[in-house]
Symmetry: C2
Subunit: 419 residues, 2 copies
């Protein structure tokens, strides 16, 4: 199947864009499509932009959106979230992840990196809605090395089922954190991810408590402890990484680790203040992510870009920090690269992921500052069309089956809280 | 004219709501409308909520959205904004304010407190779009007392023309700041606002530079300097008030001043960190505002509520600070009270300002946490209908004449930058 988008605004110029199969095949004036079955879109009301890549979420936690806000972290987890999660089934996760995928598509996101229970529920949802995803079962052995083997076996059983899904949907490896996983589990995860060439992800240095506990228990800060286990490498996304010292930053840079910065979640849970300017100065690649809907409480990278920039300026006292273009690139090209995708830019030969945004939308007015508008002003309604892997996931803001997705999530939520 | 909304979700219960003329006339089960000309709305897909009141903006600055981002404050003003503003006409302001009004209505706002040039341009825009507004010409004498009289005369000439507009549109008094206005101007403004019972507004203690300059020049911090001039009273909204000490807070509390807290603008310009918890503890009434689109860059109080809460939690290190209900009340009931309006709550006899929000919207799913969802998750698309003063301003997300408003703003922008 091919899609021809005529006369769309791309990087300030009107052009035609042809998509064949999963890639941008031809970009230029007066392109004509090869096949007869082409969908043709009049691009004149729109600008074409890269789509967004969300590098950390727990998608099924949409079911817990608003369930426990404005609560201290320890009580949030132990009194509210964990008791509810004990009753989760794969069906709940499927419906929660469908709602998350719907919400992400409607805010321009085509890829998410997921860490949660029942990975097949999430994989099925991502696959059905046409998204890309790296999905990892969250591995927690409660620091009991006797349980590590069983969890690693579960991860392996998950991974071998990747052929059940489209190649857009991949599995990944994610121990939850150093305070919930034994050294055996962490080492096993690192080995598994390297052997199978899979993405690796972990929450790290999210709170000062985590750092203090790590120093007390291991004599090392979290990043340095993970390094001592051989955990750090270019396939790792270190989530949060709020509390870093200069040594931590040097190590992350040297090992080629990517940081997933989740400003809304860090602020909502009062986890502490990620030093954006220091991470940039250290040359560590970092990307922006929403975290789960339970600590954000939405999954819009549009909003996350703005909050990331505002917070970086605020913390540094320097309004020139985190300019719009830098932030936009983090949520698009840099994130796609971190996910190992040949995507995130609109160029011939790259994967056909893109957005058509409405140039007549009030929040994108006046024209001429499109990237600034996307970062600081836009909200999801600006996005008319979302294309992922050469397939239209949303057109005119309609996603196929959205009413039924919302209904399914509502039913799953009612079932979950009644257990 | 009357509007009957049947079977809408209000405070967790299904009910009917009748609006007669400008007020909620009857709320309860099976209400029937008096007149035959009633508009009847099926409320079953919706929840009814109070609308938002934006306590500080410069609405016509929508024309400068994205014009100068990521720039240090002094250069932002002197190299970018002020040179452009020199060429402004009333026609530019009218078109910029129409765009602002459109954007505010589409994000659920029915009132704005405006401080800018050419107040009649803004008043005409607010009136035509059916919004409430307090509109003040921004008064700047460059600290030259010889010019104060002329500016005060201009303010008086503006005020007497209030009968040109609907009673929804009122005029107000606003010297820009202590560093741009002479003591004569500030005193004259305070007297004028008291004599005419008009709202008074000023930017105060926005930056550390302002505080340091005030101490050097007057031997007093900005709040204390204003107090020495008799400027502080219950009709004053002190905008920003970022840098306050305990004495400042005591004085503001004692004088009954309201603070307009503008978190996005403060963060984007790196102005400093408003101490939410200390202002609460001091018992000072404060409300949330967007500031202008040039330093935000949108006018959505939905987004501003979230950023206000997240920032307060982040700054205090306490996730229980600034809970959703408190923040929601600030943007609705508290702001309406600060504006002297009998509005902000949906009760019989109160002014009929309200929203109908879509209960099937993904970001308001699952149900049951509506206020949390509005603060932390919602974006404007959730809002289907906006009613102000008993009149429907938006239905099914359509505002009358919106295409023409966007076109007019685009033309005004092109004209402005070509001068």
């Amino acid at each position: 199947m091919s899609i021809l988008i005529k006369n769309v605004l791309l990087n300030g110029t009107r052009t035609d864009v042809c998509i064949e199969s999963t890639k941008f095949s031809k970009i230029g004036p007066a392109v004509s499509s090869q096949g007869k079955s082409a969908i043709e879109i009049d691009g004149s009301p729109f600008a074409m932009l890269p789509a967004f890549y969300n590098m950390h979420t727990h998608s099924a936690m949409t079911l817990m959106r608003g369930y426990a806000d404005d609560i201290e972290l320890h009580s949030w987890l132990t009194d509210h979230i964990w008791p509810l999660e004990k009753n989760l089934t794969e069906d709940h996760v499927y419906h929660g992840a469908r709602l998350a995928a719907l919400e992400m598509i409607k805010s321009g996101t085509v890829f998410f990196n997921d860490m949660y229970f029942f990975p097949h529920g999430t994989a099925r949802a991502a696959d059905e809605l046409g998204m890309r995803a790296d999905i990892a079962p969250v591995l927690i052995d409660g620091c009991d090395p006797a349980k590590a083997g069983e969890l690693l076996a579960f991860a392996k059983r998950t991974i071998v089922r990747s052929s059940d899904y489209s190649p857009r949907v991949r599995f990944a490896v994610s121990p939850h954190a150093i305070y919930s996983g034994s050294a055996e589990l962490l080492k096993g995860c690192a080995e598994l991810s390297q052997r199978e060439a899979l993405p690796l992800q972990i929450h790290v240095s999210e709170t000062l408590t985590e750092v203090a506990d790590s120093i007390r228990q291991f004599g090392l800060r979290p990043v340095q402890y993970l390094d001592s286990l051989g955990f750090l490498g270019p396939n790792l996304t270190a989530v949060h990484a709020v509390h870093l010292d200069d040594t931590d930053r040097s190590i992350l840079k040297e090992r080629g680790v990517t940081i997933a910065h989740c400003p809304s979640s860090n602020m909502k849970l009062s986890s502490g203040s990620f030093d954006y300017a220091a991470a940039r100065a250290a040359g560590i690649p970092f990307v922006i992510a929403t975290d789960g809907a339970c600590s954000n409480n939405n999954l819009s990278l549009l909003e996350e870009m703005k909050i990331a920039s505002l917070r970086a300026k605020d913390r540094s006292g320097d309004p020139t920090v985190a300019p719009a273009r830098e932030i936009f690139d983090m949520a698009t090209a840099h994130a796609a690269r971190a996910a190992g995708l040949n995507a995130g830019r609109i160029e011939e030969g790259m994967l056909a992921d893109c957005l058509l945004v409405r140039l007549d939308h009030p929040t994108l007015t006046p024209p001429g500052h499109l990237i600034s508008h996307m970062v600081y002003s836009a909200h999801p309604e600006c996005i008319d069309t979302v294309i992922c892997d050469g397939r239209i996931l949303m057109r005119g803001r309609k996603v196929e089956g959205e009413d039924e997705i919302v209904r399914g999530a509502n039913e799953a939520y009612r079932d979950l809280i009644s257990r």
